[in-house]
């Protein structure tokens, strides 16, 4: 185990992609085995030393940023096991610091697919599981949760928990977790309001019939240190192509997104229209990208980004279905980008990935944190929610952009403040948006999690009672209350570390 106390080295662990700058820690602990983690956490529990778990530090909510105590970095847990093939795909064991891009590439080399595709490929699988990350293809493949078959976690007591999907189901609201010490953790599932959306990264997962494993996915490092994950792999599609369709009006883009969503769900099927991902960019997003992508059509007021999979046999059909659909939409050919070769698809991926990066660059220059929403609402509420965004933003006079996962009714509104006054104004507007989303049965965070910077929004969803419920469950796993304090809810709900 390595322990680093050089401030220059520690500094490298005090930031993620949130722009949060108040990180502080006394040392970085870099264990190499589960036994070292167990021993260190056990001793830290005795000392009441706060521990913050560090993965790839690509998070956007300062979850991995410590405010005091020690950093526990999993960087040495980077081994990827062998793929076990099954008739319907396969599975693989990965240590928690394996990067998403490594797993994706390894799976693909065996003609298998790891479904989740968060835009940031350098994040770790431990971080992905801790935040229940999701990406564009969540439209078809769901969130990280649906792909976790089991995991190993070290508790702050030093005990080890190994759980497989299906091994422990919630009964009479009781969740049961067998530990290697022979002891069981038994706790009532957190009583939290029921959501009307599937995509959610805010707070603990809780439903009456839940698998105990699902409590550990999306827990933002508050319950234990994930060391190893068993993940599901699916057969890779024979082929896939990307389309970017530019629309002369935003309304046309929104209407088309609704049609594609309906078609994919089988409500009003349009022949062949069932993409793996369906994303949106508004005019402000396109304008930000124009300096780097000169071929963005000038008349485009909004764009949809689509990925369609196909089999070897269905390729020709898939192409002509989309061609027919675009013809029906009346979109002229010069407003469609098409990419099928790996090289061309990479250009579209770069186009998509450039947006958050351009935003982050502006934010760094201006030195004011962006105000970025991450809300999803039920489909029936989506048009109304979009209206709320549009009206609020246009009336505000602030610089903003809207983009994201329109397939799942999950858009990101980013406001880019230039002054403190603008920042405060944006925060107030965000709170209003969050209230609206919650009233509509939605979530205040569909994929980024709550971390340290979204407590007040989360409180809108679950109230102080919800915080107490989450704190209650945390106590069952982390009785010394040392792990990832201040993530998900304010630490005063735990009491001080003594």
């Amino acid at each position: 185990m390595l322990i680093k106390t050089d401030p220059a080295i520690i500094a490298g662990y005090l930031e993620d992609a949130s722009g949060y700058t108040e990180g502080c820690a006394t040392q970085v602990v870099i264990p190499e085995t589960e036994a070292e983690i167990a021993e260190y956490l056990n001793a830290a529990s005795q000392r009441r030393e706060a521990i913050t778990i560090s993965g790839g530090r690509t998070g956007v909510t300062a979850g991995c940023v410590p405010q005091n105590g020690s950093i526990l970095s999993l960087e040495r847990f980077d081994q990827l096991g062998n793929i076990e093939k099954t008739p319907d795909g396969g599975s693989i064991l990965a240590q928690s610091a394996v990067r998403l891009d490594t797993l994706k590439a390894t799976a693909l080399a065996a003609r298998l697919l790891y479904g989740p595709d968060p835009t940031e490929r350098t994040g770790t699988l431990g971080g992905n599981v801790a935040t229940n990350a999701s990406g564009g293809q969540c439209f078809k493949y769901g969130t990280t949760r649906e792909h976790v078959l089991g995991l190993t976690m070290i508790l702050s007591t030093g005990e080890k928990l190994r759980l497989e999907r299906g091994q422990s189901l919630c009964k009479n609201n009781i969740l049961r977790f067998p530990l290697d010490s022979g002891r069981n953790i038994e706790c009532q599932r957190p009583q939290l309001p029921t959501l009307k959306v599937d995509k959610n990264a805010a707070g603990y997962y809780s439903t009456p019939e839940m698998d105990a494993l699902d409590l550990l996915i999306g827990m933002d490092g508050t319950l234990g240190v994930i060391t190893e994950i068993k993940l599901k792999l699916l057969p890779a599609p024979a082929g896939i192509f990307s389309l970017v369709i530019f629309f002369p009006t935003q309304a046309a883009a929104l209407e088309c997104a609704g049609q594609i969503r309906n078609s994919s769900q089988g409500n009003q099927p349009i022949a062949g229209i069932a993409p793996a991902s369906l994303e949106f960019m508004d005019i402000h997003s396109l304008n930000l990208l124009k300096p780097n992508f000169s071929t963005i059509p000038a008349v485009g007021q909004a764009a949809l980004l689509i990925e369609q999979e196909h089999t070897l046999e269905s390729e020709g059909q898939a192409l002509s279905h989309w061609f027919d659909y675009c013809t029906d939409l009346n979109v002229p050919e010069n407003l469609i980008w098409f990419a099928q070769t790996e090289k061309d698809r990479e250009r579209i991926r770069a186009f998509r990935h450039a947006l958050p990066e351009v935003v982050n660059t502006i934010v760094r220059q201006r030195k004011f944190r962006k105000v970025g929403t991450d809300m999803a609402v039920p489909e029936s509420e989506f048009p109304g929610m979009f209206e709320v965004y549009a009206q609020g933003l246009n009336a505000s006079g602030l610089e903003y952009l809207i983009f994201g996962h329109i397939g799942e009714c999950h858009l990101h509104v980013n406001v880019l403040p230039k002054t403190q006054a603008e920042f405060d104004q944006a925060k107030a507007m965000y709170l209003n948006f969050a209230q609206q989303a919650v009233q509509r049965g939605g979530t205040v965070s569909a994929e980024h999690g709550i971390g340290k910077i979204k407590h007040d929004f989360f409180q809108l969803m679950v109230g102080a009672h919800g915080f107490q419920e989450i704190a209650r469950v945390k106590r069952c796993f982390d009785p010394a209350l040392i792990l990832n304090r201040n993530n998900i809810f304010p630490e005063h709900f735990l009491g001080a570390l003594i």
Partner: protein
């Protein structure tokens, strides 16, 4: 304006794997792509056509698999593709390749502009374009980064130089080679892709080109003789400099001074 673009199929360089024993490239299962510089050539041809009308024809000399890059350009909007494929051409060097392509131009006859990439990213010689121009007695502008003006009878273009650029004017027909600064190539279009999927390029062998002199091509016709190929041995070993940042930097500066680099 009728434009001919020469294109070459190359291995996607990001995927090149070497056989650790022989040091040669492993070609099995490697993705082949359109030479990146030729994508700019095709894009420029399409832009000229969009402005002036006419026809864009791509030509590649290579094995039957090279039809794939022709289809790729058809998807971008190219009108016609010709594959030059013949056993007699196997083993051709750049000169033999250029001779062949010049014979293709003779057969096509009605063209005003020929565009090639600056170089192929595998062979890397940047010889084929100039050699074709020499064979055909065409004026040539190399390394074009911008076409300032073009008419049916003349072209004015900026040639990229190390310390700036030259502006050159030439009558047409002429041959130009292009650099990546010239444009941002388009992607295939959906309609183009559907057309490309069904597209069968013309295939010409040497017999299809009247007056073709087979003695000029193939291994025998190639003036270049390869005596030996080998992977160069690394001459220097890396060295790790220990110590904290300040110490290590000081050691490094000392070493650089010792070597008289600065």
């Amino acid at each position: 304006m009728n434009i001919v673009v020469f294109i070459k199929q190359v291995v996607a360089t990001t995927n090149v794997k070497l056989d650790p024993e022989t040091g040669t490239m492993i070609r099995d299962g490697v993705e082949c792509i359109l030479n990146p510089f030729d994508e700019y050539a095709v894009e420029e041809a399409l832009r000229i056509k969009e402005k002036m009308g006419g026809k864009v024809t791509v030509v590649t000399m290579g094995p039957p698999q090279a039809k794939e890059i022709i289809r790729k350009t058809i998807g971008m909007g190219v009108d016609e593709g010709i594959l030059i494929s013949d056993r007699a051409l196997a083993g051709s060097d750049t000169w033999a390749t250029a001779y062949t392509l010049s014979q293709v131009l003779k057969k096509i006859g009605d063209y005003q502009l020929v565009i090639t990439g600056k170089q192929a990213v595998d062979g890397d010689t940047a010889q084929v374009g100039p050699e074709v121009a020499a064979c055909e007695g065409l004026p040539m502008i190399a390394w074009v980064r911008k076409i300032e003006e073009i008419s049916e009878t003349s072209i004015r273009a900026e040639r990229l130089m190390e310390d700036g650029y030259d502006v050159l004017e030439s009558p047409l027909p002429a041959l130009i080679s292009v650099v990546k600064e010239i444009n941002e190539p388009r992607l295939e279009s959906l309609r183009g892709k559907m057309k490309a999927k069904k597209y069968e390029p013309k295939v010409w062998g040497v017999a299809d080109m009247p007056g073709f002199d087979v003695a000029q091509v193939g291994l025998k016709g190639s003036p270049t003789k390869v005596f030996k190929t080998f992977t160069p041995k690394r001459q220097y070993k890396g060295e790790m400099i220990a110590g904290d940042a300040a110490q290590a930097a000081a050691t490094l500066v000392g070493k650089i001074k010792e070597m008289n680099i600065v």
